[in-house]
């Protein structure tokens, strides 16, 4: 069983996180933004797993299960909101949903 070095794994997690973050910032389609947020979450989960392996502790995997659960809840709420936004505005452009600006 080949092992992956911790540095490489953390680098992967960092790259994934940055990719997610950048696409949240540049995308205007809400569904893509939601997907990007999921990528960021998974990047964070990956970092937990790597850290758990490094210290030989189960906490990292427990944390990952937490993140998964939370992501599921978040996606269900997020999709419901997206449906509502599409219903109201007939578009998925996040910039169109600015009618509540202060």
């Amino acid at each position: 069983m080949s092992t992956v070095s911790m540095e490489a794994a953390l680098l992967l997690a960092g790259i994934l996180f940055m990719l997610g973050l950048i696409s949240v910032l540049i995308r205007r389609n809400i569904i893509f933004m939601l997907v990007s947020v999921e990528i960021m979450l998974n990047a964070a989960g990956l970092a937990f797993i790597v850290a758990g392996t490094r210290w030989v502790q189960p906490d990292g995997q427990i944390m990952f299960i937490f993140i998964l659960t939370m992501a599921a809840a978040e996606v269900s709420v997020g999709l419901a909101l997206i449906l509502q936004i599409y219903h109201q505005l007939k578009t998925l452009d996040s910039d169109a949903a600015n009618i509540m600006k202060g």
């Binding site: 910032l25 933004m33 996040s94 910039d95 600015n98 009618i99 509540m100 600006k101 202060g102």
Partner: protein, 628 residues
Amino acid sequence: MEDLLWLIPALPFLGATLLILFGSRFSRGAVALIGAGSVGVSALITLLLGIGFLADRPAFYHQEVWQWFNVAGFNPSVAFHLDALSVVFLFVITFVGFLIHLYSTAYMAADEDFSRFFACMNLFVGSMLVLVMADNLLLLYLGWEGVGLCSYLLIGFWYNEPANGYAARKAFIITRVGDTAMAIGLFMLFQSFGTLNIQSILAEAPQAWPIGSEMALLVALLLLGGAVGKSGQLPLQTWLPDAMAGPTPVSALIHAATMVTAGVYLITRMYVLFELAPAAQLTVATIGAVTLLIAGFSALTQYDLKRVLAYSTISQIGYMFLALGVGAWSAGIFHFMIHAFFKALLFLCAGAIILALHHEQDMRRMGGLRQRMPVVFWTFLIGAASLAALPIITAGFYSKDQILWYALAGENGNIWLYMAGLAGAFITSVYTFRMVFITFYGESKTHVSHPPGRLITVPLIMLAVLSLVGGFIELPHNFGHITLFSDLLAPVLPGIRASEALAENEWMFQLLAAVVSLGGVYIAYLFYLKSPSLLPSLKRSNTAMALHRFWHAGWGFDALYDTLFVRPYVYLANLNKRDIIDSFYTGLARTAEGFHVMFSDTQNGVLRNYVMGMVVGAIMILTISLLL
């Protein structure tokens, strides 16, 4: 009998309350009935009490209604104290007040604010009664401020005219100057005696303060300040001529017969303090003498009928101050009573004329009213004769002669005060008969539209009778020698002795006073009836015209106060228009507002900006935590 005392002020207050609360719902008849009736009933009670008082001659009646408050040993009551001095004031206020109310029901009949007028008048009568019946100075001060308030309300009664509102504010503010001095005087009295009860102060003051002590002088001068403000004496006299902006019955009741003599009452009431401070008493006499002269000269040059009477009021109150200042207490109060009769009469006559001529007050546009309004003419003539102190027949002669006599022969009298009084008497009769001749003689210039009705003429006739016979209750000892009035006041006020040396020649001075008064009438007759051509020749002289302008403007006091006080104040107020001290707080509010605008811009509803904000924030926090 004593138990009825509280009813006298309570009835006018009740009338005022009813009229204020329900006045708009009552018919005019009901308003007139409540307004005049409440004062009428209290006049009847006064009569009842007065007869009892005159018959029994008790030292005083006293009634405590309730204790006002009790704080740290200071426990003034709402209590009434009726002695001979208050009885005189009570009679004048209720009877003259009732006649004027009766007159007002006709005078104000066409006014749309009929009930407001009577509400204020009743409130005034009630406050004035509290003022003269109060047994402590705090209650007196309550009445004092009450009449000031009513004066303000009634001067500005026709508030649609900005000038009337200005006159009302002027009266209120100038009298307030005097009232402040008086309030400080009351504080000092309380500090010294621990009470404001008038009788205890009068009893304790001579023990606590020796004659001529500084404390007595200070308190007496402060009280004098209040009296000067209320009574329109120098240097606070400028409000009274402007106060004529109110309806004429108001001028008659408040600014001639009663309120303006409150200062005379205050000084007389606290006479012990003034006797302890001879310097203050001399000040009273001097103020009186100077005021009666300058107001007399001003009256000589006025064209507005009511302003002549206003200046004449200032001048006559000057006589009262002169009398009080030389210690002729009873003579001062006697002149107050007679003055109330004839000045109320003159004002009411003036009101009848003004009403008949469509609110024309300028004497130059009157004239020839003798045939048109005979009742007004004869009553006005009687009032004028009394004011000018025509000898033997008029009441004014007896009261003024007494003052002149004591100004010369009294213990504190001197030749200068006498000369001022005598010169004042001459001017008085000149301006009085100038007024009579211009108004009632010559050709008529304005059409008479409303001949006065019975409600107007009856009070005039009654006051005219009083102005004639009122003097016969006090005659000089060499001429009838009746002393009913001074006997009445003797238990309350100290008498005065005339110097023996002059007493033998008293008749000479009486003759002189009579000649001076008749001489004044002759001068007026000469200038305004016999040879009117004399007047234009006088007008060609520059000095005469300059003097005329100076006197017409009331000796420039208005201009002086304008430069000294009003303009600097307005200038400072203008400088501070943006409120310098407040700018700190408005600055705080501005800053908060600026931040609000700044942050509300970030709430633009663009999701990506929020995300960006979070990212930048996270980076900043990370950077800082890494660096530290």
